[in-house]
Amino acid sequence: MKIAVCIKRVPDMELRFAIAGDRKSLEQSGLKYDMSDFDGYALEVALQLVEKQGAGEVVLVSLGPDGVQETLRKGLAMGAARAVQLKADQVPVDGLAIARALAAELGAGGYDLILFGRMATDTASGAVGPMVAELLDLPCVTSISHLDLEGQGGTARRDLEGAAETVRFPLPAVLSIDEGIARPRLATLKGIMAAKKKPLEVRPAALGEVRLTIESLALPAERSGPKFVGEGPDAVPELVQRLRTEAKVL
């Protein structure tokens, strides 16, 4: 089984963000980057599928500047066989441009599965996976919380608002993986050493026309701070009073 896993390098969300002077990008100093959380789950799913079958390979693909090589090496250390960097000066916000570049790389690869995380933790769009599927005319199931493969197809579970869907699909397919489905393994020292020798190809990203751009970035309006903070159960009547008269939610 041949599986591609598309991964994105994103900033550490625990850090403070500042807007750069151009008002369109983040201040880079102090930012740390890592693989987007959901992509780790997708990679783990891929590694387990190949291990279970005893044959095949997991190929990593990431689009972006040379910094993504570090993230690709991390995935190689976890157990992927090889990696491809689709080189671009920066990752565009236009998901369709990214999807075009990925589809151009993946289309002729003969993959049984193309996996994505449910969404990148930075842009939180989750659009690139289904877009790649459409461009390649492949079946696609998004946001999968449970996956069973059997023969030339599989069944997946998707959690909706207040409901869950069971979805059947044939292979080859594009899937996006929700968290919790399989805990990503940590790279072993042996894996980290091996990763240094694994192939990492660099090719230019064929992004095409970009129709979605950043107009501006802003930090969210600070909430003005609490209007009222009381102490202990005796503060409850005042809270309820304020919820009625001030916030008008009761």
Partner: protein
Amino acid sequence: MPDMFAFAEARGGELRKVAFETVAAARRAADATGGGQVHALVLGAPGLAARAEALGRFGADAVTVVEHPGLERYAPEAFAATAAERIKAGSYRAAVFSASAEGRDLAPRVAARLGLALASDVTAFELRGDAVLAEHPAYTGKVIVTLRLVGAPAILSLRPGAFPATEQPRAARIESAAPAADPGAGRVVVTELAQQAAATLDLGEAPVIVSGGRGLRAAEHFKLVEDLAAAFGNAAVGATRAVTDDGWRPATDQIGQTGRVVSPELYVAVGISGAIQHLAGMRTAKTIVAINKDKDAPIFKVADYGIVGDLFEIVPRLTDEVRKARSS
């Protein structure tokens, strides 16, 4: 005068609240720029046409109803083909979907089919000149990105709860149409839709959410949260990731970056410290109440109202007072 397209989501033969939100948002955007037509599309099993008129109340001028037994459940390929065909048939400035689980699957497919720009999980937008500007909270809500979409129509998925379903009545023209692809020929088939008990309000639709965190100390203490939610009468129960990871609550109750992102009128955080991952899921709530024993907990930084102290004393009292307030 720009025309707008709105995808109206249905489930189990009923329109969902997000259907009214997308139509109302499309109506407001059209009216803000001279008042074009709003065309809505709804797909489902036969019988849905009877529900379609309701979309007129929220501002639809025309509703296209596509009924087919094979559309009873979400059929991604037939839905995408049909939505793309309807969008192409009009001359729309923007096409709005909900950023619900279904909309997040559907909107990117439609955008890719039509080669159009998509902005996901949008919390505000305006038509400006030839472009559409759309706001989207990114980086776990810590940065607001304003996106510029060029090329018409711009495709947007709107964050559930961020756009009020205000009534702006029109006498909607109801038209029926056939699906653009045979629903029976789809490669991806939803074989089962398991609904949660109808009595529980969905997190995305409830005006009030009462959420519990580790501060509750044990699964059985979630009763306190449930009782408070019941006292409000219109509340759903949520939880932090720590709580769902520990199995105190089902994973579907999780609010946060990796769970549900919600924007209720009122969010009551009980025993929740306010980790970034949780704040990303609820910081756009209109009013936030925090109850926590630690006065320095980050949740108080985003709260509008707070009580510091023992939640086991505070919450039962609050439940009583809310019940009293609602019956007076």
